[in-house]
C-alpha cells in the first residue's frame, strides 16, 4: 500500500504533497532523457518518442499527399500523358500504402502514446524500451519503402496487392517484396505499441480512476489497441505467405498448384476492414474530448458512448466480405455481411446523437479545434451514409471499384480521421509545446481544407456512378468525365494550400505563439493539470482521482499519493478495474539497445527480401542485441533491491 512520507528513509528523496524543490529537481533528473546525439538514440520517454512518432507520421502524410497531387495532375485532363502507367500505378500504390500503414494508423497510436499517460496520471508508459523499439522499427520500415521507391523499385500492385497480380509471375522485381516486408515492419511496430498502451491503461492509472471514469479518448485507445491485436496478425500472415510465394516458391495463392486467390482477399480484408476503425475510433475520442471542453459539459451518455465503442470494435470484424461482393460468394453469406455492415451504423449513430445532446445542453465556445470537429458531422456522416450504400450487395455491385468508393473512403477517412486529427492537433499542441497555434491561421486552414476537400471528393461520387472505375492512369475524352476530374484536381490544389497554411502556422507558433499555460481551454481532464509542456516525470504528485473530469470537480481528499522515490524511476502500478495501488516497480533507464535491436531487425527484414538465408544469418546479431537489452545489470538490481527492502 501507499507508503507515507514519514516512513521514508532519510537517505532517499521522495515525492510528496508539498513539492519540495529538491524532490522535484530529483524527479526531473531521474526521468529526463540523456542529452546529446547518443542520448537521442537512447531516449525512452514516452513524450519524446511520441513527438518523434507524430512528426514521422506527418512527414509520411505530406509525402502521401504529394503523390496524390501528382495523380490528380495526371487525371486533370483526359488522355493525358504527363505520367505514364507504370509510374501512376506506383503512385497510387505508394499513396494508399503510405496513408494507411505509415500515417493514419500509426499517427493515432502516436498521439495516444503521448496523451494516455498524461490523461491517466502516470509518470511513464509501460514497457518504455519496447515503445522506443517500436518507433525505430516503424521509421526504418517506412524509410525502406521510400528508399525502394526512390531507387525505382516502388510497388505497383495497389495497397491491397491482390494476388495473382502481386505474385512473382505478374509483378517481377523487388517492389512487391519491399511492400510485403514494409507491412511486416509497420505491423510489428503497431502490435508492440498496442501491448504498451493496453498495459499502460490497465495497470498504470492514477489511484481511484475506475475504468468507468477514464476519459473517452482513453477508452477509444483501449478498444483500438485490442482491435490491433486481433486484426494485424491476419495481414502479417498474408504478407508473409505472399513473400514466401514470391521468394521460396510456396503456392499459398497459386490456383495452378492448389492455392487460392480469394484466400488473400479474405486475410487482407479481415485486417483491412477493422483497419478503417483503427483510424476512425481514436478520433471518436478526440471528438469527445473537444466537444466536452468547448461545450463546458461532460459528454452526455458516457456508458452508451463506451458501449458503442466496444460494439463498433466487435462489429468491425464482421464486415470484411463487403469488399468482396463481386466475387462468387453464396447469397446467404452476402446477406449476413450486408446486415452487419448496416448494423455498425448504429453505434456510430448513438455517439453522434450523444454529442449533439452534449452540445444541446452546453455553453458553446467556438474555437478552431471545435470547427474541425463540426466538419466531422458533415463529412463523416456523408461518408457513413455512402457506406450504407456500399454495404448493400446490389448497390455495391454497381459502385464497387469505382470513384464512388474513392469518394466514400476519403469522406470516411478524412472526415472521420484527418479532420478530427487536425482538431486534436490544435487542441493538444499547446500541451505538447507550451504555445498556442494561431487562431486566425487556424480558421484559414480550416476553411481552405473544408472547401478543398469537398470540391475534390464530392464530384467523385458522381464520376463513379457515371462509370469511372478506380486505379486507372488515364481515361478517354468524350465520356463526360472531364469537367468533374478537372474540378477534383482544382480541389486538390486547395487542400495543398491549406496544408501549407497549417505548416506555416506550426512553424510560426513554435517560435512566436502565445504562451499556453497549463490549461488554456479550461478543460477537465488530468493532462491539463500539469505544465505545458509537461516535465519529464509528467506529474510532480501522482493525483488521486474521484470521478471523471477531475479538474472540473471540487478538490477532494486525498489529493495525491506520495512516497515514490524521486531519484529513481519508480512508478505506481494499480489494479485493472478500480485502480487500487498494487506495487511500485522500478522502470528501466534509457538505453541504446532498442535502437540497436531495431537496426538488427531491419537487417533481417531487408535481407530477407534478397535471400531467405538472411533470416538465418541476421538472427545472430538480433539475438546478440536482445541479449544485450535484457542483460540484468548489477547496479539496477541493487537499486531495486534497495527500494524493495526499505520502502
Amino acid at each position: 500500500m501507499k507508503p507515507s512520507p514519514a516512513a521514508a528513509g532519510p537517505a532517499r528523496l521522495r515525492d510528496g504533497p508539498l513539492g519540495e524543490p529538491a524532490a522535484l529537481a530529483a524527479l526531473e533528473a531521474a526521468w529526463r532523457d540523456p542529452p546529446g546525439f547518443m542520448g537521442m538514440l537512447r531516449a525512452i520517454d514516452h513524450k519524446t518518442i511520441a513527438r518523434r512518432f507524430i512528426v514521422a507520421t506527418l512527414v509520411f502524410f505530406l509525402l502521401g499527399g504529394l503523390l496524390a497531387l501528382l495523380m490528380r495532375l495526371q487525371l486533370a485532363r483526359p488522355g493525358s500523358a504527363l505520367i505514364g502507367p507504370e509510374l501512376y500505378n506506383q503512385l497510387f500504390t505508394m499513396h494508399g500504402t503510405t496513408m494507411m500503414f505509415l500515417f493514419a494508423v500509426p499517427v493515432m497510436q502516436a498521439v495516444a502514446m503521448y496523451l494516455v499517460p498524461l490523461m491517466i496520471g502516470a509518470r511513464a508508459i509501460a514497457f518504455p524500451r519496447m515503445n522506443a523499439f517500436s518507433y525505430w522499427i516503424f521509421v526504418m520500415g517506412g524509410a525502406f519503402l521510400y528508399l525502394g521507391f526512390a531507387m525505382g523499385a516502388g510497388p505497383n500492385v495497389g495497397w491491397f496487392a491482390y494476388v495473382p497480380l502481386s505474385s512473382a509471375d505478374y509483378a517481377p522485381g523487388k517492389g512487391a517484396d519491399i511492400w510485403a516486408q514494409m507491412i511486416t515492419f509497420t505491423e510489428l511496430a503497431s502490435m508492440l505499441v498496442a501491448v504498451v498502451l493496453i498495459t499502460t491503461i490497465f495497470k498504470m492509472r492514477a489511484p481511484g480512476m475506475h475504468l468507468n471514469q477514464m476519459p473517452l479518448f482513453v477508452w477509444a485507445t483501449l478498444v483500438t489497441q485490442f482491435m490491433v491485436l486481433f486484426a494485424m496478425p491476419a495481414v502479417m500472415v498474408a504478407s508473409s505467405c505472399l513473400i514466401l510465394d514470391r521468394l521460396v516458391g510456396t503456392h499459398f495463392f497459386d490456383p495452378a498448384h492448389g492455392g487460392d486467390v480469394l484466400l488473400w482477399q479474405h486475410l487482407f480484408w479481415f485486417f483491412g476492414h477493422p483497419e478503417v476503425y483503427l483510424i476512425f475510433i481514436p478520433p471518436l475520442g478526440f471528438i469527445s474530448s473537444i466537444i466536452s471542453t468547448f461545450s463546458r459539459r461532460p459528454i452526455f451518455g458516457y456508458p452508451a458512448m463506451v458501449l458503442s465503442l466496444v460494439a463498433t470494435a466487435f462489429l468491425a470484424f464482421g464486415l470484411w466480405v463487403h469488399h468482396m461482393f463481386a466475387t462468387n460468394l453464396p447469397e446467404i453469406g452476402k446477406s449476413f455481411f450486408t446486415a452487419a455492415s448496416l448494423a455498425i451504423a448504429i453505434p456510430s449513430a448513438i455517439q453522434i446523437f450523444c454529442w449533439i445532446a452534449t452540445v444541446w445542453n452546453g455553453r458553446l465556445v467556438l474555437r478552431t479545434p471545435l470547427r474541425f470537429v463540426l466538419a466531422f458531422f458533415v463529412i463523416l456522416v456523408l461518408g457513413g451514409l455512402t457506406g450504407i450504400m456500399l454495404g448493400a450487395v446490389p448497390l455495391d455491385l454497381q459502385v464497387h471499384d469505382t470513384y464512388f468508393v474513392v469518394a466514400h473512403l476519403h469522406y470516411v477517412l478524412l472526415g472521420g480521421g484527418v479532420f478530427p486529427l487536425f482538431g486534436a492537433f490544435y487542441y493538444w499542441f499547446p500541451k505538447m509545446t507550451g504555445r498556442m497555434l494561431s487562431e486566425r491561421a487556424g480558421q484559414l486552414h480550416f476553411w481552405l481544407f473544408f472547401v478543398g476537400f469537398n470540391v475534390t471528393f464530392f464530384p467523385m461520387h458522381v464520376l463513379g456512378l457515371h462509370g469511372m472505375q478506380r486505379r486507372i492512369w488515364t481515361y478517354p475524352a468524350g465520356l463526360g468525365w472531364d469537367g468533374m476530374n478537372l474540378m477534383a484536381t482544382l480541389g486538390a490544389a486547395l487542400i495543398a494550400v491549406s496544408v501549407l497554411v497549417f505548416i506555416a502556422n506550426v512553424g510560426f507558433s513554435l517560435r512566436r505563439g502565445a504562451m499556453a499555460g497549463a490549461d488554456p481551454w479550461g478543460a477537465g481532464t488530468l493532462e491539463w493539470s500539469v505544465p505545458s509542456p509537461p516535465p519529464a516525470h509528467n506529474f510532480d504528485r501522482i493525483p488521486v482521482v474521484h470521478g471523471s473530469d477531475p479538474l472540473w470537480a471540487a478538490a477532494r481528499e486525498p489529493v495525491c499519493v506520495s512516497g515514490l522515490a524521486a531519484d529513481a524511476r519508480e512508478v505506481l502500478v494499480t489494479s485493472a478495474l478500480h485502480a487500487r495501488p498494487e506495487s511500485r516497480p522500478l522502470f528501466p533507464d534509457p538505453t541504446a539497445w532498442p535502437f540497436v535491436s531495431a537496426l538488427a531487425t531491419t537487417v533481417l527484414f531487408v535481407g530477407s527480401v534478397f535471400s531467405p538465408w538472411a533470416v538465418v544469418w541476421a538472427s545472430l546479431p538480433l539475438a546478440i542485441a536482445l541479449i544485450g537489452w535484457f542483460w540484468p545489470g548489477r547496479r539496477d538490481r541493487a537499486r531495486s533491491m534497495a527500494l524493495e527492502q526499505r520502502p
Binding site: 493525358s80 505497383n156 463546458r296 450523444c354 448493400a392 455491385l397 486505379r471 482544382l490
Partner: protein, 344 residues
C-alpha cells in the same frame, strides 16, 4: 494520348470544371441510366437508399445546427463556467433513444430492401438465355458465343446481344483477376483465375455501351474496355450469322499482298483469321476486325491510320501490351492495313 501542351488559364479551368460538373450531373449515363432489368432494379434500390440518406443527413445537420445555436445563446447568457456533472436531462435521453430507434428501423428497412433486390437479381429467368463465355487477358477480352442454332464462334472486345433475351456470361481469367462491368446493364462480376463465375442480365433497349475492367489488373488496367451492343433479335441474328462466316479471300492485289505478309510474318503466330491458315490464339481473333469500333480494347478508334500506328508501334499506344512492334516497310504496312480493312 495527346498531352495538352497549353495549360488553360485558371478562370477557364474553374469554369470548365463547373460547367462540366453540371453537364455530367444532368446527363444520365452509367449506373444512373439503366438499359436492362437488372440495372433497373439496382437503380430503384439506389433511389430509395439515396432519399433515406438525404433525409437522415438533413435531420442530423438540422439537429446539430439547433444545438449549436442553443449552446451559443446559453453561453452568452450563462457564461463559460463548466458544469462538473452531467445534469439529469430526461428529455435529452428520450430524444437520443428515439433517434437511435428510428435509425435502427430505417436500417432494418434498408436491409430488407437490399436482400429482396439481391434475391430478384439472382432469380432472373434464364431458360432461353444466350450463353457467352468471356475470358479476360491482360488487357483485352475474348468472348465465345456458345452453340446456339449453329456452331460457336469467337469475337474480341466487341459483344452483341439481342434485346429482351436474357444473357448468361460465364467469366474466366487466364492470368490475373479482372472484373466485368457494363453499368447500364448490371453490376460487376470478377473474373477469378482458378474459378468460374457467371453473370446474368438482359438488355431491354437498343444501344451501344462501354464495358470495362473494374478490378486493377496491372499496367494497362485503364485501357481494358469492350463495347456491348444491344439490338433487335433479327439484327442480332444477322450479326451472328456474319460473325460465324470465315473471312473471304482478298480480291484487290494490295490486300492479297497484305494477306501474304500476315501469314508470312509474325502476325499469324498469335492471331486467328478464320478461312486462312492463321490460327494463333495468344492475341484477339481478327476474322472480323474491321467490324469493330475500337482497337486494342477500347484504346483508339478503329481507323486505318490508327491501325497502321498500332501495327508499327503498339507500345506507344498501349505500353506493356503483348503485341510486339514490327519492322515492316511503310508499303508493307499499307498492304497489311488494306488487307485487315477487308475483314468486315
Amino acid at each position: 494520348m495527346n498531352p495538352r501542351a497549353a495549360v488553360p488559364a485558371p478562370r477557364t479551368m474553374v469554369w470548365g470544371a463547373l460547367t462540366g460538373f453540371a453537364a455530367c450531373a444532368r446527363s444520365a449515363s452509367g449506373a444512373l441510366a439503366p438499359a436492362g432489368i437488372q440495372a433497373e432494379r439496382i437503380h430503384a434500390l439506389w433511389q430509395l437508399t439515396l432519399w433515406v440518406c438525404i433525409v437522415v443527413f438533413a435531420a442530423v445537420l438540422v439537429a446539430l445546427g439547433i444545438a449549436l445555436a442553443k449552446a451559443r445563446r446559453a453561453r452568452s447568457t450563462g457564461g463559460e463556467a463548466p458544469a462538473p456533472s452531467d445534469l439529469a436531462r430526461p428529455h435529452a435521453r428520450r430524444a437520443v433513444t428515439l433517434a437511435t430507434l428510428v435509425s435502427g428501423a430505417l436500417l432494418v428497412a434498408l436491409v430488407v430492401a437490399d436482400v429482396l433486390t439481391d434475391r430478384s437479381l439472382s432469380r432472373l429467368p434464364v431458360d432461353d438465355a444466350l450463353h457467352i463465355e468471356m475470358t479476360g487477358y491482360q488487357w483485352w477480352w475474348q468472348a465465345r458465343y456458345a452453340d446456339d442454332g449453329g456452331e460457336s464462334f469467337g469475337v474480341s472486345n466487341d459483344l452483341h446481344v439481342p434485346i429482351g433475351r436474357p444473357v448468361v456470361v460465364t467469366l474466366k481469367s487466364v492470368d490475373v483477376i479482372h472484373s466485368f462491368w457494363v453499368p447500364e446493364l448490371h453490376g460487376k462480376k470478377d473474373l477469378l483465375p482458378g474459378r468460374t463465375t457467371t453473370i446474368q442480365f438482359r438488355a431491354d433497349r437498343a444501344g451501344t455501351w462501354r464495358g470495362e475492367c473494374a478490378e486493377f489488373c496491372g499496367l494497362q488496367h485503364a485501357l481494358m474496355a469492350f463495347s456491348i451492343t444491344a439490338e433487335a433479335p433479327q439484327a442480332f441474328a444477322d450479326w451472328r450469322e456474319h460473325q460465324r462466316t470465315s473471312a473471304a479471300p482478298p480480291v484487290e492485289p494490295a490486300a492479297a499482298a497484305g494477306l501474304r505478309l500476315f501469314l508470312g510474318g509474325h502476325c499469324a503466330q498469335c492471331h486467328t483469321v478464320r478461312g486462312t491458315p492463321a490460327a494463333g490464339t495468344l492475341g484477339p481473333d481478327l476474322t472480323h476486325l474491321a467490324s469493330r469500333a475500337t482497337l486494342a480494347a477500347g484504346t483508339v478508334a478503329n481507323e486505318p491510320a490508327a491501325l497502321a500506328a498500332w501495327i508499327v508501334q503498339p507500345q506507344s499506344l498501349k505500353a506493356g501490351a503483348t503485341m510486339p512492334p514490327s519492322r515492316l516497310a511503310p508499303d508493307d504496312v499499307r498492304a497489311l492495313v488494306s488487307y485487315l480493312e477487308t475483314l468486315k
